[in-house]
């Protein structure tokens, strides 16, 4: 009896240890709802997409070779994309090419949107039926994929970029891939 009586408190201490460690992980930025993308460290899917603006170049996955690329899936109908858009404009000359993929959108709508908000993209292509997005595993815009010089996905940003995410996640990764 005397020893069994200590069992509840011992179990509780173990439980509290788990809780404490989990909280520590959260403070280091690992939230329990964070799900790692299965696409990271895998070759980017093959695709070839037409440009949004006639006369500008389209983009195919062959063009990943030799350059670091950030593929940004967005849409004119997407509200969070608007907050991200302003940040993307500040990313010129940071060591990668920025490819915008207009996801499941109407050409007139996105043209009007870019005329209003500005066009930060080096290359802008349209994925009207969303097939390329599905191959990438996009489940909501905006999502961005950082692709290395060999055409492998190295990093995925789910949801809009924030200034912190650009500073802490994106730019260090870009610098690493450009080495």
């Amino acid at each position: 009896m005397r020893r069994i009586a200590f069992l509840p408190v011992v179990l509780f201490v173990v439980l509290a240890g788990f809780f404490g460690y989990r909280l520590l992980l959260i403070q280091r930025g690992d939230s329990p709802s964070f799900i790692p993308s299965v696409m990271v460290n895998k070759p980017a899917p093959d695709f070839q997409l037409p440009p949004v603006f006639a006369g500008t170049p389209g983009f195919s996955s062959a063009a990943f070779k030799g350059r670091v690329t950030l593929v940004n899936f967005f849409a004119s109908w997407c509200i969070p994309c608007r907050s991200e858009h302003a940040l993307l404009s500040g990313l010129k000359g940071q060591g990668f090419q920025l490819v915008g993929v207009d996801y499941k959108d109407k050409p007139e709508a996105v043209k009007a949107w870019l005329a209003r908000e500005g066009n930060p993209y080096d290359v802008l292509v349209a994925d009207e039926n969303g097939q390329t997005g599905i191959n990438f595993g996009v489940y909501g815009v905006p999502e961005s994929y950082l692709i290395d010089k060999q055409g492998r996905i190295r990093f995925k940003q789910t949801g809009p970029f924030t200034p912190e995410a650009i500073e802490k996640d994106l730019l260090p990764k870009v610098a690493e891939l450009n080495k």
Partner: protein, 660 residues
């Protein structure tokens, strides 16, 4: 000015709580009556001060004072008045204030109604209450101040999460908290008893009404939450085994076990250490629920904006309260000597079985809720534990529990006569056979005839068994009717409470079985004018009206006509609402009930070509789940009105209480 008064009142309340936590304890140790009596005065002062703070927060919400950050973040001038008031506890800071307000209410109630308690026990219990209060007041004042100002004040607020703008959800937190916090009374009594080193029948008799009150509130709160999930989430389900739901269910299971083991302590002066442990568990699990929901350590569909800093703070509180009390238990429990011995087949034995099953069930829910966390921390990958696990483990535990529920009350204390009890339950056996066969036949259309027959038979066993037990008590048909009637009138309310609650559970079991076995659903694309058949009904989509204006939302409102054999049963108007502040869509299911089954319609997204995704359900017996829960609460209330609780407890040491 008002927010500062509220803030100041909270700070004062903290000091009063500190005094209440220390002085009475010292007084009880020194047997100094005036020092002990400080507890009473302090408990009233605390209620006054925390009540003032709570009132101030309600005031700033009602008057939409946008210079207060909490109002800005959770309110909006367009919000209906009802939700301005309920929005007070629809957020982290406000709900914590409600938590301590209810704690202060219980403390003051103990001070008021506990006049016939031994002064030392009362002083110690109130001191423990005050310690809990100190912890939560510090937490509020340092991490979650609801009265923080914002400068400059914005013109309007961000509005309340639309999911919370619903009567079911608006009123369920107060009931849940009345339940959670109510278990703090049993906890405080348990700690006081451990400090004194004495647990006896009188102690159990003082603890029971508080536990019963907390249990009744918690039952109602859980039922309301489940009802809300049923009609707003729009998937026809009423329980999802979500961590937030489990957080409220675990204290309920522990509290139910406590209610039953306290009976054994009161009547037979045994199972003492176990009862104390359950009292600690019931409240600890309430605290654990608070921690799980607010720290963000597990993912849940509905939880508060989580904040790891607050998580660390609540974990600290948890370690102090639970770790401290369990350590005290470990040191003191071995000295609590049990009194009466009993045979395995006896009333005590059946109550002990109830306790073992209830605790195992509770442990299972705890394991299932926290398993994703363990797996994550131990690097076993991201997993989620869903309904299949809980159903597979929980249901097999509940079957023997319910089977003994009808039997237990028929057994006598100390040594029961199983054969005799089973003999007296002849009628229940007949009912089981009839109900099982009827359910089997009716389940022809169901995919699960075995479960249907089993569930209904179990419910019939419990219901008829409970009736037989009552009939035995009043000796119905064995003595003249007038005599039976006289006995029925003089039967203690506690006995009626038990019968009503057990019968209510039987009704819940029928509802759960019905919803598991007979529900039919149809998820399809419909165009206006089309009709689909569902469980013998014809559902016609007449049209969808866009842009229906509500006070703070616009909605697409569909119009369905439900017919049975061409006769119109109901006009149903499910809505898909888009709230303006904050912009967020919600579904509003249309439910037509005939109290046996529900027709349940949800309108989804348009396909752009004139069609709409619709979800239609025919939920058999689901209303019985909520009806049964209300009956269970009613049983709790009836039991609370028992004369013994009103005339007060017997003098200590008077352990030979006539068995009921």
């Amino acid at each position: 000015m008002i927010p500062e008064i509220g803030h100041f009142a909270l700070i004062l309340a903290l000091f009063v709580a500190l005094v209440q936590a220390i002085i009475p304890l010292v007084g009880a140790a020194r047997d100094d009556r005036p020092w002990m009596d400080v507890a009473r005065t302090a408990a009233f002062a605390q209620l006054l001060l925390v009540g003032l703070a709570f009132g101030a927060l309600v005031w700033v919400h009602v008057t939409s004072d946008f210079s207060v950050l909490n109002v800005v973040q959770n309110s909006h001038t367009d919000k209906p008045m009802l939700y301005k008031i309920t929005g007070v506890w629809g957020n982290h800071e406000g709900s914590m204030l409600l938590w301590v307000f209810i704690l202060a209410l219980y403390g003051a109630a103990l001070a008021l109604f506990g006049r016939n308690l031994p002064p030392a026990l009362r002083a110690r219990a109130l001191a423990v209450q005050a310690m809990i209060s100190v912890g939560f007041l510090v937490f509020i004042l340092f991490t979650s101040n609801p009265f923080a100002r914002i400068d400059p004040a914005p013109m309007n607020g961000n509005g309340l999460n639309p999911l919370l703008q619903d009567p079911g959800l608006a009123f369920h937190p107060p009931f849940l908290y009345l339940g959670y916090v109510g278990f703090s009374m049993a906890f405080s009594f348990a700690i006081a008893a451990l400090i004194e080193g004495r647990v006896d029948a009188a102690w159990a008799r003082w603890v029971r009404p508080w536990t019963l009150a907390a249990w009744s509130f918690l039952t109602l709160g859980i039922a309301m939450g489940s009802w809300w999930a049923y009609y707003t989430l729009g998937w026809g389900g009423w329980w999802y085994w979500d961590p937030t739901e489990n957080a409220s269910f675990m204290p309920w299971l522990a509290g139910t076990a406590l209610l039953h083991s306290a009976v054994v302590v009161e009547k037979r002066d045994t199972l003492k250490a176990w009862t104390i442990l359950l009292a600690i568990f019931a409240f600890s699990l309430s605290l654990l629920g608070t921690f799980i929901v607010r720290s963000g350590i597990v993912t849940s569909v509905h939880s508060f904006a989580s904040d790891p800093t607050r998580g660390v703070f609540i974990l600290g509180l948890l370690v102090l309260a639970v770790g401290g009390s369990l350590t005290l238990f470990a040191v003191r429990a071995p000295s609590l000597k049990g009194g009466g011995l009993f045979a395995p087949i006896s009333r005590e034995g059946s109550l002990l079985l109830n306790n073992v099953l209830m605790s195992t069930a509770c442990g299972t829910v705890l394991l299932g809720t926290l398993y994703p966390l363990f797996a994550d921390v131990l690097n076993l990958g991201k997993v989620s534990v869903g309904a299949p696990f809980f159903n597979a483990v929980f249901i097999p535990l509940m079957i023997p529990l319910i089977a003994t529920m009808a039997l237990g009350p028929m057994l006598s204390w100390k040594r029961g006569d199983l054969g005799g009890a089973l003999g007296r339950l002849k009628l229940a056996f007949v009912a089981v056979l009839l109900a099982g066969c009827a359910a089997w036949l009716l389940a022809g259309g169901s995919a699960k005839p075995l479960q249907a027959a089993g569930g209904i038979a179990l419910a019939a066993w419990l219901f008829i068994g409970t009736l037989v037990e009552w009939a035995e008590r009043v000796r119905l048909f064995r003595v003249p009717l007038a005599e039976a009637l006289r006995r029925a009138i003089h039967l203690p309310r506690a006995a009626y409470g038990m019968s009503i609650t057990h019968a209510g559970l039987a009704v819940v079991v029928v509802g759960i079985t019905g919803s598991a076995c007979w529900t039919s659903e149809k998820i399809t694309m419909m165009h206006p004018g089309e009709t689909v058949a569902l469980a013998g009904y014809q559902m016609t989509l007449n049209g969808v009206e866009d842009g229906v204006k509500g006070p703070n939302y616009t909605a697409a409102r569909a119009h369905f006509t439900a017919r049975e054999n061409g006769r119109v049963i109901a006009e149903m108007y499910p809505e898909k609402r888009l709230y303006t502040m904050p912009p967020r869509p919600t579904t509003d299911a249309a439910i037509h009930t005939n109290f046996i089954s529900d027709l349940y319609a949800v309108i989804g997204d348009p396909d752009g070509k004139g069609g709409y995704v619709v979800r239609l359900y025919h939920n058999t017996l689901v209303p019985w789940i909520f009806l049964g829960a209300v009956i269970m609460v009613l049983g709790g209330v009836v039991s609370l009105t028992d004369r013994r609780h009103r005339v007060g407890a017997p003098a200590r040491k008077a352990t030979s209480i006539a068995s009921v």
